[in-house]
């Protein structure tokens, strides 16, 4: 297919449907001819444009990442070869390399690879976009970014610096398998955010909406809906108040965690624990020896994870989520899988191989590589805590004494053991709750817990502000930054160890 060129964001970009089905076919045929019993060939192109303002300095950058891989099973073992080139000859070469690797692996492997069945389809999937972000003029975006910075800095003389970013990404994926699947996907992602940094007497506090955690598979309408300028004012004020606030005190209390912080809690203490490759010991070089995880296959349907209010799903189908897509890298369609239902652990995130290994009937459709040259792995898509019955205000009004936390600090710290049985997090800001009202603001709040007692202590989930976090997730070797979303609202937890950590300033 010939490459067309279009003017987008003032930049000449190759037309997105430039990936060639014939090239996929060549890879499949070549590997099959060499003895592969299963072949998957993926081509992709990812284009990213980022516009950024730091105080009064603008910056714009473009990144283009093509990639391809051939993944095969030969003699019951895997082989994988990849490149940043996507041409015909390169795909032939990759097929040969992948088969060679698989033959080498077969000399080591004690059990042959088994895959759960999957219906092969020919399909096309596209992100629903109202306003193509690549058609917005850079000047208009820079005007918005300068306004954010100016408004945030204008809130207080303590706000010394501000930055704002809009990022647009589009990805074209083409996947074919020897089973007959041919999947074309066009994914668009957009993000916007800003930070305001205040300083006073050596204290530094940053508040804002980090663009790296605010991606959605949506068009520029997502940036417009954020109302960035108004939020920049709010966060600028908050940063200036935080540098004068007291540190969050240490106590065991009732804790309400709002959506931006709660997303991280879900990610680290439930998301990673239920990735089946991790449970089966395939990330040990990265995360350390796990031994028998408390999310072992034997615990499926039995483990009491949280209170009966807690329902968590892996949902790659939800509109707008950062992890939303049509099909994974094994041509398995996007699914919605319950991980926790009424507080009980009921599902894993899986690939076709890992699902087969523990006796599941099908993959959850979450086997994904970030770029075309990346080896796929089990990935969170959108891991969402389903909404409850409370109005957000009712959660607060119903709390006699406690702490409310929200926000992700730009340099905050999180800690957890490799089984995720325990955790500690740092939030952006906290407020005291007294007799159902928010009172004093605290800086540098932290909280700690043991995973299952913490989630079992959840006694209220809000139905309001069910928002999506959309960011990255580091996993795998060579390292990949996956695209992960979390939808959640506010939730209340009883008897949580808040603040402190051992040493006072």
């Amino acid at each position: 297919m010939a490459k067309a060129f279009v003017q987008i964001l003032g930049i000449v970009l190759s037309e997105i449907s430039s990936l060639d089905e014939d090239v996929v076919e060549i890879g499949i045929k070549e590997a099959s001819k060499l003895g592969a019993t299963y072949v998957a060939v993926k081509l992709s192109e990812v284009e990213t444009i980022e516009l950024h303002v730091e105080n009064d300095v603008p910056r714009m950058s473009v990144q283009n990442i093509p990639g391809a891989h051939v993944r095969v099973i030969v003699n019951g073992a895997w082989g994988f070869a990849s490149s940043v080139e996507t041409g015909r000859e390169k795909l032939r070469l990759l097929a040969h390399r992948a088969v060679k690797l698989a033959r080498a692996n077969a000399t080591v492997r004690e059990e042959p690879v088994k895959l759960t069945p999957n219906k092969a389809v020919k399909a096309r999937y596209e992100t629903k976009v109202q306003k193509d972000p690549f058609e917005i003029q850079p000047k208009d975006i820079f005007d918005l970014l300068f306004s954010c910075v100016s408004e945030a800095r204008g809130q207080s003389s303590l706000v010394k610096s501000g930055s704002a970013t809009v990022s647009c990404q589009r990805e074209d994926r083409l996947l074919g398998t020897s089973e007959g699947a041919l999947i074309s996907q066009k994914l668009v992602r957009t993000s916007g955010g800003f930070t305001a940094t205040a300083t006073k007497n050596g204290m530094v506090q940053t508040s804002g909406l980090n663009s790296w955690g605010n991606y959605a598979t949506r068009g520029y309408e997502w940036v417009e809906e954020m109302n960035l300028v108004e939020r920049a004012r709010t966060e600028g004020r908050l940063a200036s108040e935080l540098v004068e606030a007291e540190r969050c005190p240490e106590e065991v209390t009732t804790l309400i965690i709002e959506e931006r912080m709660l997303a991280l809690q879900i990610h680290e203490t439930l998301g990673h624990c239920t990735e089946l490759d991790r449970v089966l010991g395939r990330e040990v070089d990265f995360v350390g020896p796990i031994g028998e995880s408390f999310f072992s296959p034997r615990a499926l349907g039995k483990l009491w994870f949280g209170s009966e209010l807690v329902n968590i799903v892996a949902d790659a189908t939800i509109e707008g989520g950062q992890g939303t897509l049509g099909y994974d890298d094994e041509a398995v369609p996007a699914k919605k899988t319950h991980l926790i239902k009424d507080g009980i652990f009921v599902g894993f995130q899986s690939s076709r191989e890992t699902a087969a290994e523990v006796g599941l009937e099908e993959s959850s459709g979450q086997f994904l590589g970030t770029y075309g040259y990346d080896h796929p792995m089990v990935r969170m898509t959108n891991i969402n805590l389903l909404p409850g019955d409370y109005a957000r205000e009712e959660l607060i009004e119903d709390t006699k004494r406690g702490i409310l936390m929200n926000g992700r600090p730009t340099s905050g710290h999180e800690i957890f053991d490799q089984r995720r049985t325990t955790f500690g997090f740092c939030a952006g800001a906290a407020w005291r709750i007294e007799n159902g009202e928010l009172t004093q603001l605290y800086r540098d709040p932290t909280y700690y817990g043991v995973t299952t007692p913490f989630w079992r202590g959840c006694d209220g989930i809000s139905k309001d502000n069910w928002l999506g976090y959309g960011g990255g997730c580091g996993k795998g070797r060579p390292g990949q930054n996956g695209r992960v979303g979390h939808f959640c609202s506010s939730a209340r937890f009883r008897n949580v160890h808040v603040g402190g950590g051992g040493v006072s300033e």
């Binding site: 473009v62 895997w78 940043v84 060679k100 080591v108 530094v204 408390f294 483990l303």
Partner: protein, 466 residues
């Protein structure tokens, strides 16, 4: 390398032809072979031409346009060169002011960084090596129930050139092994870990690493039952843990190139740490894993004293951060080749500065243990980092993995993982450094074991079944 140089020159010419007044190009080609294994199954075996780094860069074009503004674009593929050049020029319409790239400085090449046979290590050899590793670990003890990890090799070449005459290169190879093991006795478990890194794959002691991990997995069986109570204790950090710990402060507080927040800086020319602590950064020292003649902007690497007997003396700058403070670059622009040896579990050990050498002390590890009344011996840290927005006077918090209790000068069995929270500066005021026999090349460090005479253990990590 010739083809990379030629490619870089062609790219520069292309940029000048279409309107740039200056251009700078970085071109990188990297090939990684990597097998991740789990007992005797290789579940991921990669052979790929792929860039390293985040974001991944195969080619980066920077231009200065006629209005004196900077623009940049990058791609992973050399075939995108023409588009990259056009994109960079268009981005310069919205870029910051920059009137010239720095004048090039001569960099004397380093030898001994590239090993052909490491670059050519085959998939069959990787598979055979994994067989040896798993067999060696299992051979230690019948209670070794799980052996997993990663074995990889890399060959990477980079050319950096600009229209002012800069024309430098860096090529290196690397081999890397991580072994983790689980020991099991009934329902009781233990865990072990070992890692080896070298630019020459064939110098890696594969069986030695496997045995170390296996032995630790046996000697830690039952660790879950041995909680270390909260309180101040003596803690001996083996080199990997020491690198994570020290890296949390040197790589954040002394690296302006990485973090420009003034609050993260430690004061220079004042006694901040113990007089025992001396750290230099020297990219030309080939004992360090990431030795190179130049940094990611082509600036020559050189000796830089970071901490001299407890007194911080210098910070690290790239061109942009140096310009902000009206200084010269110290040769610390982030390199696109820095990622390979950083495959640990911590976040503190990032990669600037990249070649830190900690002067060893006089004590062997056995002597450090013998001098410890009530303490813990730690192999490595997990999630080290600071809480809040400043390093000073704030805290470091981390978990440990694989650790052993020390009582009255002797190892007294395995210990449950501990979580500690303390002041980085305070704890580094009272230390004992291990001697040369304890020194190891780990990530961006050449570092001995370090004993912290007083570290606040805030809570046991409570790793257990739930």
């Amino acid at each position: 390398m010739n083809s990379l140089h030629q490619f870089a020159q062609e790219t520069i010419q292309k940029a000048l032809d279409i309107g740039a007044i200056q251009a700078q190009v970085l071109a990188n080609q990297t090939r990684i072979g990597m097998a991740r294994f789990n007992n005797k199954a290789i579940h991921q075996n990669v052979d790929g031409e792929r860039p390293t780094g985040t974001p991944p860069i195969g080619i980066r074009v920077m231009v200065i346009n006629k209005a004196g503004r900077l623009g940049s674009a990058s791609s992973t593929g050399p075939k995108e060169m023409a588009k990259c050049v056009k994109d960079a020029l268009r981005c310069s319409q919205h870029g910051p002011e920059l009137h010239s790239f720095p004048e090039p400085k001569k960099a004397t090449p380093l030898s001994g960084l590239y090993f052909e046979d490491t670059a050519e290590l085959s998939a069959e050899e990787r598979a055979e090596c994994i067989n040896r590793v798993v067999d060696a670990a299992r051979g230690v003890d019948g209670r070794v129930s799980f052996v997993g990890g990663l074995l990889s090799n890399i060959a990477s070449e980079t050319a950096i050139a600009n229209s002012l005459g800069l024309n430098v290169e860096h090529a290196y190879t690397g081999g890397h092994l991580i072994v983790t093991a689980v020991g099991k006795e009934g329902v009781r478990e233990g865990s072990g870990y070992a890692r080896r890194s070298s630019r020459n794959f064939y110098s890696l002691d594969l069986e030695g690493a496997a045995k170390d991990a296996a032995c630790d997995s046996i000697s830690t069986i039952g660790y879950q039952n041995n909680l270390v109570p909260a309180g101040r204790r003596e803690v001996i950090l083996k080199p990997e843990a020491a690198a994570e710990y020290l890296g949390t402060i040197t790589q954040q507080a002394l690296s302006v190139a990485r973090l420009s927040r003034t609050a993260d800086k430690v004061p220079l020319d004042k006694q901040v740490f113990s007089e025992e602590l001396t750290v230099v950064d020297n990219g030309r020292d080939t004992r360090t894993l990431l030795a190179s003649a130049v940094d990611g902007e082509g600036t020559p690497k050189r000796f830089l004293s970071l901490v001299n007997h407890g007194v911080p003396e210098n910070r690290c700058y790239d061109h942009a951060s140096a310009k902000r403070e009206r200084r010269e670059s110290t040769g610390h622009a982030p390199p696109p080749w820095g990622e390979f040896f950083f495959t640990g579990t911590g976040s503190g050990q990032t990669y600037l500065p990249t070649n830190q050498i900690v002067e060893p002390g006089d004590s062997t590890l056995d002597e450090m243990i013998a001098d410890t009344k009530d303490g813990v011996l730690v192999t490595r840290l997990r999630c080290p980092g600071s809480n809040g927005h400043t390093i000073l006077p704030d805290t470091i918090r981390a978990d440990t993995q694989e650790c052993w209790r020390i009582r009255n000068g002797k190892i007294a069995g395995p210990a449950n993982y501990i979580r500690f929270t303390d002041s980085l500066v305070r704890t580094l005021k009272d230390i004992v450094l291990g001697d040369k026999s304890t020194v190891k090349a780990v990530g961006s460090f050449l570092i001995p074991a370090i004993k912290l005479n007083s570290l606040y253990i805030s809570q046991p990590s409570l790793v257990m079944r739930q």
